[in-house]
């Protein structure tokens, strides 16, 4: 049953502002006396900065300040978890895009002109560009302490006892990275305040991260740095930690000049410098019996972190536990290595490492199905977690394990799997050159923070009832386009029993709401929503007794508010929300509440990967139907079916939007988005040749299935969806292309050049 007030069909709160072109993004912030900042960056990925001359830039018209490591007015360290990165290069250059100097000028053109006058000499050093060679003896060192940053493990059972299995399937998967390509590039406007405190206007998913690092940079207490999130033009993980860097640059220039500074990255710099989905190499070995039951899995994941740690270890931690898939397997060994290279800066991106490892584990499932003559759905039923076999890779028994089988059933039915497969087979019979395929992939995903980050798994919200019966709500989780504020507003209104248009909800201001951790891991609905509900519970404890009095009852039990009217089954008397609020104010009772949420404490052993990795999980899956043109290598996606176990739908239009957007972004990653590197420098830093899907590239049909079985820990039973909507798209596409070509495929993205290579009759292995 749907709770009254959920999924009312109301447009999201920001729909009209955005449709009218009135939303104000970071670059729209204009302040009196504001300067424009630019970054001068290294074009090479590895070397020693032996000369830096900024005198001509300083003398250029309009220039107000030029900063280098020598005169930077703040702490030159950037690292969030590991202290391995400077804001401005002192001597060693480790990646293309490392910052050499910052310039502030009265106009953007003047700053850009001055940037071209900065003279620098970088003596090249050999770099590390292949993650597979980075740990070899004698490999050049990216960081002095060595190229291996960190390792993660799963040790379950004894995989070595499986070596006598009927079947051993082994391969190396080479999976490409991805540019977030949020339409709004990174940036901050830093505004020094008259009292010496700071206000920053930033495009970000994590204003609290910016606050922390800018405060450290300036040497100030965090209460003296206030970050206001501007309407954010997309994030997808790319605006988790990276925005701190342009924010620190803007703050540095503002500190040096005493004036507000707007620093907005141009697209090419944004693509070169900011974090990317990690390129990974996944070595996957699977032991199975002829019945199709998997006995053991051994996985090695090589994560290309780039030159700095950033949040790569956090991404790797998730890749590590996700690398086997939604299967109950007795013997598992996983080794995940996070490795420094001089390539692009790896970081969070929708799915946090899970899409890359899913491509490997799901390709292996299909190969196993072929090897034992089973259907891909059947092989997943045989091995998937279920009420009978509920144990995930971490060894924990999943309370909702039965939902995996249900998801498979729904996905098989809704995608018309059997019919489509028969049609493809018939077409091949008629014309052996016909090249159509269909592929399936499924995943399990913890839609909250991993054990390693559970201290951040919390959320806060203020809900304030105004005297006229309208409501202001402020939450610590961010809207970046995904519809978080719509969900928060719906939850707040449904909890109070009023129409959602009465609730005004605002973007994060770090001075007004508690640090709620990062808005990542598809956790916004749960952590923000539960915090809102906690505030609502406190308010209802004050409102309901007042309403009961108006209804002539002795106590509040059984009093409900629906559409702004309080009622009770025992009486026909009703009273309105406004009347009760008037009473609350009349009695001078507190009209506001601070709600709080924290996920339950969990036990987990990082040495074995056993324990409770996440508070709860979701299942998801995709079926992708393709046509491949062998001559041109072009893959046309005809139909995609997505199935997600969402707990409960809060705002239906937003949920569907997440799925549609996730599918298309996933297809881009799988088929056209290739980061082309030349010794660590991005050769295609723009949308001319880094090809994200356009309206011409979308599938003919996207079918969506939502399973709604409430999760106890979610608000009204809801769980997250933002990332699962993406994760198995790439793997399903890989399987579909493999089906179409009738051969193994072990690489993503499947660009036309690669597909042409794979389609050649004599083609061997993977490119």
């Amino acid at each position: 049953m749907t709770h009254p007030g959920l999924d009312s069909g109301a447009p999201r709160p920001d729909a009209a502002t955005k449709a009218m072109g009135r939303a104000r993004y970071c670059a729209d912030v204009q302040l009196t006396g504001m300067l424009h900042g630019v970054i001068v960056a290294s074009p090479v990925a590895s070397g020693i900065l032996s000369g830096l001359d900024v005198s001509a830039a300083e003398a250029a018209p309009g220039v107000v300040a030029v900063l280098t490591a020598a005169n930077l007015p703040g702490n030159n360290r950037v690292g969030l978890i590991f202290d391995d990165q400077p804001l401005l290069v002192t001597d060693r250059v480790r990646m293309a895009g490392d910052r050499l100097a910052l310039i502030a000028a009265t106009t953007l053109e003047a700053a850009q002109r001055a940037a071209r006058l900065v003279k620098f000499t970088i003596d090249p050093l050999p770099g590390v560009h292949d993650v597979r060679r980075a740990l070899e003896p004698g490999a050049p060192l990216v960081q002095e302490q060595g190229n291996l940053l960190k390792e993660f493990f799963v040790k379950r059972g004894a995989p070595q006892t499986c070596r006598d299995a009927d079947l051993v399937l082994e391969d190396e998967f080479v999976i490409g990275g991805q540019e977030h390509a949020y339409l709004e590039t990174q940036g901050t406007v830093a505004e020094p305040q008259p009292d010496g405190s700071w206000l920053l206007h930033s495009t970000t998913q994590c204003p609290f991260y910016i606050r922390g690092r800018v405060a450290r940079f300036l040497g100030l207490p965090i209460s003296r740095v206030r970050v206001r999130q501007t309407v954010t033009g997309g994030g997808f993980g790319g605006k988790e930690d990276y925005p701190d860097e342009p924010a620190m640059c803007a703050a540095a220039l503002a500190k040096a000049t005493g004036r507000p500074v707007s620093l907005i990255l141009p697209r090419d710099q944004d693509m070169q410098m900011s974090t990317k989905r990690h390129a990974m190499v996944v070595r996957h070995k699977l032991y199975a019996s002829l019945s199709g039951r998997i006995r053991g899995v051994e996985v090695q994941v090589l994560v290309d972190a780039g030159a700095y740690a950033g949040l790569s270890t956090v991404v790797a931690e998730r890749a590590n536990i996700s690398s086997v898939g939604p299967y109950d397997i007795e013997h598992v060994s996983v080794l995940t290595q996070v490795i420094y290279t001089n390539n692009l800066f790896g970081g969070p991106y929708r799915g946090f490492g899970a899409p890359q490892v899913a491509a490997a584990h799901e390709a292996q499932m299909d190969r196993l199905a072929r090897a034992v003559g089973q259907d891909p759905f059947e092989i997943r039923r045989i091995n998937g977690v279920s009420a009978k076999n509920p144990e995930f890779t971490s060894g924990e028994a999943l309370p909702q394990a039965h939902l995996y089988g249900k998801l498979l059933d729904e996905l098989e039915e809704k995608s018309g799997w059997k019919r489509e497969k028969a049609a493809i087979a018939a077409a091949r019979e008629a014309d052996p050159g016909a090249c159509e395929g269909i592929g399936l992939a499924t995943i399990i995903y913890g839609v909250n923070l991993h054990w390693g980050g559970q201290r951040l798994d919390r959320g806060g919200a203020y809900v304030l009832i105004q005297a006229d019966g309208t409501v202001n709500a402020a939450v610590g989780i961010t809207e970046m386009g995904q519809g978080a504020l719509a969900a928060m507003r719906t939850i707040c209104a449904a909890g109070l029993g009023i129409d959602e248009t009465r609730v005004q909800i605002t973007e994060v201001d770090t001075a007004l709401v508690p640090d709620s951790g990062p808005t990542v891991a598809s956790r916004a609905t749960v952590s923000g929503g539960n915090a809102v509900l906690d505030a609502v519970r406190q308010l209802n404890e004050r409102l309901l007794p007042l309403a009961a009095g108006k209804l002539g009852l002795s106590g509040p039990e059984g009093v409900v508010c629906r559409d702004g009217v309080y009622s009770h089954p025992s009486t026909t008397v009703t009273t309105t929300f406004n009347e009760v609020v008037a009473l609350l104010y009349g009695r001078r009772q507190n009209p506001g509440a601070l709600g709080w949420f924290m996920s339950p404490e969990r036990e987990y052993d990082p040495a074995t990967g056993q324990g409770r990795a996440y508070a709860f999980y979701t299942f998801g899956g995709h079926v992708v139907r393709v046509r491949v043109d062998r001559a041109t290598g072009l893959v046309t996606v005809r139909e995609v079916t997505a199935a997600h176990d969402v707990g409960k739908i809060i705002h239906g239009l937003s949920a569907e939007g997440q799925v549609q957007g996730g599918v298309v972004q996933g297809l881009g990653w799988a088929l056209s988005e290739e980061l082309k590197l030349d010794a660590g420098r991005l050769k295609n830093p723009g949308f001319t040749d880094y090809l994200i899907p356009s309206s011409m590239d979308i599938p003919e049909r996207i079918n969506i299935v939502f399973l709604e079985e409430p999760e106890d820990q979610g608000p009204f039973g809801a769980k997250g969806l933002g990332e699962p909507s993406f994760i198995s798209v790439g793997a399903a596409t890989l399987n579909a292309v493999s089906h179409a070509l009738g051969r193994d495929v072990s690489v993503l993205p499947l660009t036309p050049e690669r597909v042409v290579g794979l389609a050649r009759p004599d083609a061997e292995g993977t490119p």
């Binding site: 449709a19 009135r22 339409l183 386009g481 239009l653 937003s654 939007g657 549609q660 309206s695 979308i698």
Partner: protein
């Protein structure tokens, strides 16, 4: 500096521009019209689109001086007498997520519907092919344009 005149969203405006000033910057910084967005600054993304004498152009690729005497329409003008049928559909169908692409998409779709009030699916996809959107997967945008065409094409305000 050269003195030029635009008719912007129906109103004549006189201004001074440098020969190398780009239309997008002049609209945003000199005229305070912030709806056109800069997504790439090189003609790839369509976020900066405006209507120039009724035809959509990428304002990041055009010099301000070239548009002397011309009529310019931005999204500020399209919504000024109440929402257009298209904008109403965008809202009802949750067409945008982050919304950064919305101004450019609105310009391209408005141009299409004015010239072709009953577009087909292929017409819509084609008309939007120069407007990148990273959030929505385009489906809810295309659907809104089709519905605005079917329901509001001849009578609605476009």
């Amino acid at each position: 500096m050269k003195k030029i005149t635009y008719v912007i969203n129906g109103e004549a405006r006189h201004l001074h521009v440098e020969p190398n000033d780009v239309l997008l910057d002049v609209l945003r910084d000199k005229l305070g019209l912030k709806s056109p967005k800069c997504g790439c600054d090189r003609g790839d993304c369509g976020a900066c689109a405006v209507l120039l004498d009724g035809k959509s152009v990428r304002s990041c690729l055009i010099l301000a001086i070239e548009c002397d005497g011309m009529a310019i329409e931005t999204v500020e003008g399209i919504g000024q007498d109440g929402l257009s049928a298209l904008q109403e559909k965008f809202i009802a169908l949750n067409s945008f997520q982050c919304g950064f692409c919305a101004p450019g998409v609105t310009i391209s779709a408005t141009e299409l519907l004015r010239n072709n009030p009953r577009p087909t699916l292929d017409d819509v996809k084609e008309a939007l092919s120069g407007n990148l959107c990273r959030c929505t997967g385009y489906t809810p945008i295309i659907e809104a344009v089709l519905q605005a065409g079917n329901e509001g094409g001849e009578h609605g305000k476009l």
